[in-house]
Amino acid sequence: MDKEIVVDVHELQPPEPMQRVLDALDTLVDGQYLKIIHRMQPFPLYDILSDNGFKYKATDGEVSVFDIYVWRAKDKAAEKTIQDIISI
């Protein structure tokens, strides 16, 4: 099982990026996280994530402007993996 699910939305028109992300969130299992490739910080998505028990972290992107990591707030294993990636 891959720990990372990549969702590349940087060339999609709103509201497709959020739709894709919400669909991908449904498939997350323990230890997994999303890496969203986005051209902007999706502030409206952040509200939905926070309201529904997810955490997120945005970093400078490799493919587009931002990479945004999303994981379940309770999932400490996924959080640890992301911390390791970001601190590299």
Partner: protein, 431 residues
């Protein structure tokens, strides 16, 4: 670089922008009705009181009304700068603002000075609250980039336009206060360029690449255009004001800065049109056509202005219509067809996205306002614009036709917006 978690609840509830959006077409309908009641004589003299009523119903009642609503929504999203207590502040601003515009337009239309006095106080309070809240939010925001910078200039432009406007209104309201008609040009320039155009430019930096999947604006435009426009507008204003002082003229500087300003804005419009033509996905919708209509009208308005300045012609009526209706209203109207369905969709997702089985029942953006509906209104808008331009040259023949087309057009927009909010409510109550 890591980005810290942004504060939750960045976006206000749907009611904060929607009270402004839903009201705006009603003010435009009022403008169309005044045009119908007064007929072709409206086009005889720009200083007619009824003209001032129509102008302010359009610029304050429609254009600025929508822009204030959009600010509540866009500041958190584009600049990461939420306005504190958006529900309360939007209602307070709306109450003073909407009643202020009604009093101002009625005051002009009926030549009742006491109404203009009341309007002055109501609008002063509304703008003061708005500008202080927005200025604090914007200047506290650490989001950089062309969009946030342009918004800061735009709000500064609104401060200046409002101060000039209140000064002019005071001259209309009190006989003891001189009516400084010579500063009208400054008021129009700061409202039209400093506030409206600057805000449209700032929003374009974000929404054109985002909604129309184009390349980003070239760095030089993104970084420097808004600063250039602001500074040149400032120098133009000084030379304009100097020109109103007896025995002192900086006409050459005024002409030079006006031409430079026009060139900068024409460059922006041409670049945006080019990006839209070269967009990565070939799909087109009403919003794209509204933008193209608006940008082409901006170019025409500026060329007419340059032409009139160089040849010393009076084309004020035509330029005003092409700029404020052809450019500003086209783009704002087009944006409503993106923002309103998007907000309905977004807020339904905020409330229902993680409720079992709910997500699949949330309407798509096209369900909220279909492309067929928005295209129909685009055609009506374009027809009404052309008829209004024709009325400038042949008022007897075209004024009533234009006014009635506007009336139908704004009523249709109003209907589409009301249907959107009703759909939103029905989705929530059925869950």
């Amino acid at each position: 670089m890591n980005y810290n978690q942004l504060s939750i609840d960045q976006a206000p509830s749907i009611s904060a922008p929607f009270i402004f959006f839903l009201s705006a077409p009603l003010f435009a309908i009022a403008a169309a009705l005044i045009l119908i009641f007064n007929g072709p004589e409206i086009f005889q003299d720009r200083w007619l009181a009824q003209n001032l009523a129509i102008t302010h119903l359009v610029t304050l009642g429609f254009i600025t009304m929508v822009m204030i609503g959009a600010i509540f929504q866009l500041l958190p999203v584009l600049a990461g700068a939420p306005i504190p207590r958006p529900e309360l502040s939007s209602r307070v601003i709306y109450g003073f603002y909407a009643s202020g515009v009604i009093c101002l337009a009625t005051g002009f239309n009926t030549s009742h000075q006491w109404l203009i006095k009341i309007a002055l106080f109501l609008l002063a309070i509304a703008f003061l609250v708005l500008l202080i809240l927005v200025s604090i939010a914007l200047f506290k925001s650490d989001v950089s980039g062309g969009s946030a910078k342009g918004m800061r200039y735009s709000i500064t432009g609104l401060w200046i336009a409002v101060i000039l406007g209140l000064t002019l209104a005071a001259g209309h309201a009190w006989d003891s206060i001189p009516l400084l008609r010579h500063i009208t040009g400054l008021h129009i320039a700061w409202a039209g360029i400093g506030w409206i155009s600057m805000m449209i430019i700032s929003i374009a930096y974000q929404v054109i690449p985002m909604f129309q999947i184009t390349a980003n604006y070239p760095k030089i435009i993104d970084k420097h255009l808004s600063t250039g426009v602001f500074l040149i507008l400032l120098i133009w204003s000084l030379s304009y004001y100097a020109g109103t002082t007896e025995g002192f003229s900086l006409q050459w500087l005024k002409t030079l800065t006006a031409l430079t300003l026009s060139l900068l804005l024409i460059a922006f419009a041409s670049m945006t049109i080019r990006m839209q033509i070269q967009r990565k996905k070939r799909m087109a919708d009403a919003t794209l056509y509204f933008w193209l209509t608006g940008l082409i009208n901006l170019i025409i308005a500026l060329l007419l202005y340059c032409f009139a300045s160089l040849l010393n012609l009076d084309l004020d009526f035509l330029i005003g219509i092409v700029f404020f209706i052809g450019f500003a209203i086209s783009i704002i109207n087009g944006m409503l067809y993106k923002i309103v369905p998007f907000l309905v969709w977004l807020h339904l997702h905020r409330k229902l996205a993680f409720k079992a089985g709910s997500r699949s029942t949330i309407p798509t953006m096209n369900d909220v306002i279909s492309s067929r509906k928005s295209l129909l209104q685009l055609y009506l808008h374009t027809l009404a614009l052309l008829l209004t331009i024709a009325a400038v040259f042949m008022p007897e023949r075209f004024t009533y036709l234009a006014a009635i087309t506007w009336l139908i057009n704004w009523s249709l927009l109003s209907l589409h917006l009301i249907q959107s909010i009703l759909l939103y409510r029905s989705c929530l109550t059925s869950k």
